[in-house]
């Protein structure tokens, strides 16, 4: 696959033209920031806000005041980015806990001498933590939505979709891990029951455990169904028309136009509304006065 890099030629022209434009006054800060002036720009924008493969790095609050005329003043991202960052950090934490959970599952499945209650508790705890994280993130996700057609709202919608897909994948993964664990646990229990049939205590305990297992399955399925229902509105179905870039661009264009029309209409009605109200009030007043006048002449 052939490509050609024209950046060098471009930079050469750019520097040549710059020196032509500003021949005498070239403050050292400007010239040094010509190469490094890309620096603050890159630093601020390169904090990967939503890249899950990297560690979560906080946003560097670079003071834009010290940038000279040559470099572009980079502003801080809008407030909603904080919400999306929180969600993505939650997703990160949930993933790490999933790894721990997998280990805990494996440990609990191994035959041991103890009654395994501690392992169970840890597993339950971890599962609940992960589910809690997912739920919290999902609630926060709703806050990302913005009204009104604008570029910002489109970005927010897309960020929402991306995070929704991540959350959905996470919950499906959790559910899969759980179901394999529960299945294997059930197999083990049945194996155990087969061995010590005469121990009544064991029998009764395994019935209770079976109920426990069923409850856990029901709970996890319930949770997953809830989450998937809430997220299914946001997640893009791959391969459909909604997944096409050109379709989304068209939609943006039409919604922006629509929005403009709506705004214009609203403006008009508002103006008209005021006048209409005034006129109506005046007309009513006129009628009242007329009635009063007639009454006055009749009475007097």
């Amino acid at each position: 696959m052939a490509t050609r890099n024209r950046t060098l030629i471009f930079r050469k022209y750019r520097d040549a033209l710059k020196s032509v434009r500003v021949p005498s006054s070239s403050s050292p800060s400007t010239s040094s920031s010509g190469g490094g002036g890309g620096g603050p720009v890159i630093e601020l924008a390169s904090t990967s806000l939503l890249n899950h493969n990297r560690k979560y790095t906080p946003l560097s609050t670079e003071d834009p005041g010290n940038s000279s005329k040559g470099a572009l003043t980079v502003g801080l991202p809008p407030a909603w980015v904080d919400v999306s960052e929180e969600i993505s950090s939650n997703v990160q934490r949930a993933r790490m806990k999933m790894v721990e959970l997998a280990k805990a599952h494996a440990k609990a499945l191994m035959p041991s001498f103890g009654d395994g209650k501690e392992d169970q508790r840890m597993i339950e705890g971890l599962t609940q933590e992960i589910t809690g994280l997912i739920r919290k993130s999902e609630k926060k996700l709703q806050r990302l939505a913005a009204a009104g057609p604008s570029e910002d709202s489109n970005i927010r919608k897309n960020v929402q979709r991306s995070l929704a897909t991540d959350l959905q994948n996470l919950s499906i993964e959790l559910r899969k891990k759980q179901s394999t664990y529960l299945k294997r646990l059930r197999q083990q229990k049945e194996g155990q029951d087969g061995v010590d049939l005469e121990m009544n205590l064991n029998g009764s305990r395994s019935i209770i455990d079976d109920d426990n297992l069923d409850d856990m399955v029901v709970e996890s399925v319930n949770e997953l169904a809830q989450i998937m229902k809430d997220l299914s509105v946001l997640v893009i179905d791959q391969g459909t028309i909604v997944d096409r870039i050109d379709y989304n661009i068209q939609n943006v264009a039409t919604t922006v136009e629509e929005g403009l029309k709506q705004l214009q209409k609203a403006e008009r009605t508002q103006k008209r509304g005021g006048m209409v109200m005034c006129a109506t009030v005046l007309v009513i007043m006129c009628f009242i006065m007329l009635v009063l006048l007639v009454l006055k002449t009749i009475v007097f």
């Binding site: 696959m1 950046t7 960020v159 991306s162 997953l224």
Partner: protein, 568 residues
Amino acid sequence: MVLVSAARDYVNRMLQDISGMKVLILDSQTVSIVSVVYSQSELLQKEVFLVELVDSISKSKESMSHLKAVYFLRPTLENIQHLRRQLANPRFGESHLFFSNMLKDTQIHILADSDEQEVVQQVQEYYADFVAIDPYHFTLNIPSNHMYMLPAVVDPPGLQQFCDRIVDGISTVFLALKRRPVIRYQRTSDIAKRIAQETSKLMYQQESGLFDFRRTEISPLLLIVDRRDDPVTPLLNQWTYQAMVHELIGIHDNKVDLSSTGKLPKDQQEVVLSSEQDAFFKANMYENFGDIGMSIKRMVDDFQQVAKSNQNIQTIEDMAKFVDSYPEYRKMHGNVSKHVTLVTEMSKIVGERRLMLISEREQDLACNGGQVAAFEAVTNLLNNESVSDIDRLHLVMLYALRYEKESPVQLMQLFNKLASQSPKYKPGLVQFLLKQAGVDKRTGDLYGNRDLLNIARNMARGLKGVENVYTQHQPLLFQTMESIIKGRLRDVDYPFVGNHFQQGRPQDVVIFIVGGTTYEESRSVALQNASNSGTRFILGGSVVLNSKRFLKDLEEAQRIAKYSTNVV
């Protein structure tokens, strides 16, 4: 896979090294180029949270300096102007410029001049200037396609623009494949010759450094042919899935717009038909209508079984299984609805227009001889009330193309009948077609009646009978491909450009049809590639034709030709 994967690789490379939130800015052409190979969800994974067109993005004034801008544009005059304005008042933190074709030095100069704030971090040329609709089929979506039918004197700058776009597109195909071809063209077509020569000049003289790739023993072949050498294929009704959908409804950039066909639920008004994303479509796109009906019925039955088991939830395990498999179920449901809707719609059209009857006659006209019988059949169909105007026009055109010289009186009769019956028929259209693509203008042996070998082959086929009377037509392209494989493409008919020469049989061949390709031809190419003959073919055209588009181009060319002769 070749074309699609090349375009995907380019887009991947554009996005992968830039971290952080990005906005992707495209122009109206690169939108098509990117949309057919990359999906919105994949963009979101690469942290591209906004996609905009370059002309609309200048309208807004809000500054979004927390975003990095990735521009992927064609290096045209308007785009450079847009860029100038945006670089002068940058809205985004950084700008990365990628162009789909070669930049001129003056253009780089202009951009450098306007980048006072130094937001541009890189300027690259990523050669994806073609729309890769199928793995071995690309198009250029040229709006003024009718240009190829007009003589050069009518509109020299327009024609130059047309040729430039084609040369740009073809050269990027070879840059993406990293090969430099030997070029041949159809002798009887001036425009094919012109494009061949300009491409050769670009690859061997102007940018010879860029195209100087590692030479293999046998160079690939670029063959440039003219649509008018085979005017029959775009006029025929199609019965294989992809070609049929395009002929009856219309596919554009792998999307089908069903909104004009009655009441449909909102999510079925526009659907995607892409062999890369839809496994059922990939398996059935070249099958004929009858087989497709069976396959869809099987798919619906499978789906109904799954749906029934989903409704029958009794134990907790069933419930769990349902919730787990819900995303797949949803996807399957969408896919089944899509195909059922398409096939239902097409069946409706087939019934309304009596296409089975008409198509049988069309295939006869295209493949078999017998002028007298043909004349009778066409006259009968013209007299038939239920035949639509469009189909009458097709029939007369096909008759005229085949029996142009045989019985002029009867031909005139048909013209008159057509003109009297169809009020919207533009008089002289069929004659215009004959002038453009008549037997004197054609190189190839369209009806298999020039070459003794072909005549013999036809007779043998007639005796053997055909499997399916509706798909018996083979486009001329098939014969051309066979000749290339056997190394028997005649120099007299398809000369080399300049002093190019090729010994032996090429292993990679790109065939470009000036005037447009059809899905019937791309099917032919795909089946040929699947047969492992040692040669890999890639097909490209200025547009993808169906009969409607072909007639539109013809009418437009006729109108302009008439206007210019009137003026002169």
